[in-house]
Symmetry: C2
């Protein structure tokens, strides 16, 4: 059970990342009505060793059943509870450009319990336009919205030059988790988590690997 965990011992970030990978695969199995899986089968499907699977899960308790393996629907529920996606999280999006439009329409967020509740943009020409069912709101209303709705998650899809100022304002209003698409490093207080998605850097890594392959 998640509550068994020794909290003095931080879980390696790589283990937490793999929980998302396990969860994704288990959910796809759940959709096929499969009932159980062993650590070996789970690892094999995802190119991990069974020892790795068991070790990652052991940070959070004992989930398997002797002679049965993991019950898939049970493990899905437990992984969601561990990750915190067993409930709905409201989030705001800053930036109504092309990337903002794509992120607002991205089906994966809602499937995982992340609900976009507002979109803000500094450009008066964008304010008042609609993206899906949401109207783009002016930046001036962001702070109050976040405070009143107790929003903790923000998706930042603004130009790099604007990113730090907006991050400061988000944090000041109460946001403590930011998914950042601006290709620059953000300074935030230690209680705030920023995950940056730098797509060009991802492509650089691919190109490096391609070259290594042909060296």
């Amino acid at each position: 059970m998640p509550s068994d965990r020794n909290r003095s011992e931080p879980v390696p970030p790589a283990s937490v990342r793999r929980l998302s990978v396990y969860l994704r695969h288990l959910e796809s199995l759940e959709a096929t009505n499969r009932r159980t899986i062993s650590s070996r089968e789970l690892g094999k499907a995802l190119d991990f060793t069974d020892a790795q699977v068991r070790k990652d899960l052991a940070h959070f308790g004992q989930f398997g059943h002797p002679g049965v393996g993991y019950r898939i629907n049970e493990l899905v529920r437990q992984l969601k509870a561990i990750l915190g996606t067993d409930r709905i999280w409201n989030m705001v999006l800053i930036g109504a450009g092309n990337l903002g439009h794509a992120l607002a329409a991205f089906p994966g967020f809602l499937q995982k319990g992340f609900t976009l509740v507002a979109i803000f943009d500094a450009d008066p020409k964008k304010v008042g336009t609609k993206i899906g069912t949401l109207e783009v709101l002016p930046m001036e209303s962001m702070n109050r919205f976040i405070r009143e709705r107790l929003i903790r998650l923000a998706v930042l899809a603004v130009p790099p030059a604007a990113a730090q100022d907006i991050a400061d304002e988000l944090v000041e209003a109460g946001v403590d988790g930011i998914l950042n698409f601006a290709p620059r490093r953000l300074s935030v207080p230690s209680h705030v988590t920023v995950n940056s998605v730098d797509l060009a850097a991802q492509m650089e890594q691919i190109v490096f690997a391609i070259q290594e392959e042909s060296r």
Copy 2:
């Protein structure tokens, strides 16, 4: 110099990822006309130790100058040569949905030397429409296009159910690097590099960290 590297010793992926981070910061400094930087200053700006910076770079040669530190424009050039972004890479995009539109318009790719040369989609209603200056082409023309133009990079922005089949076809045509946005694992031959961007999983990691913070 990059050519000094002992190729029998693979560079840790985390070091390669940090090269992208160093490069991004150095380019922003270059734009301000700054000339030199020490490993300590570079590390400090990015929350790494100076030892980490020196160790990462040491995989590829000797870049610093005694009493000067790193010459910024020189190190930018060298990092690009190491990563392989000292030249233009043509890439194709598969999927002309919302995410495809955003990716096609994403300015970061071109800035880093990645040039989108074609967009393919299976939906006849999308074929023939324009995204920027490019016309969406039918999937049936993808294989030949990749072969004739010797394309090696693809961005995959298609529904999960279609992703593996398209990946197979890309690889068969000669692609050896795929930036995958479909939330599923792709099986590819060992000479092919796939980097998967799972935005919902990134958000899950943020939520986990937020909860850890408040436990």
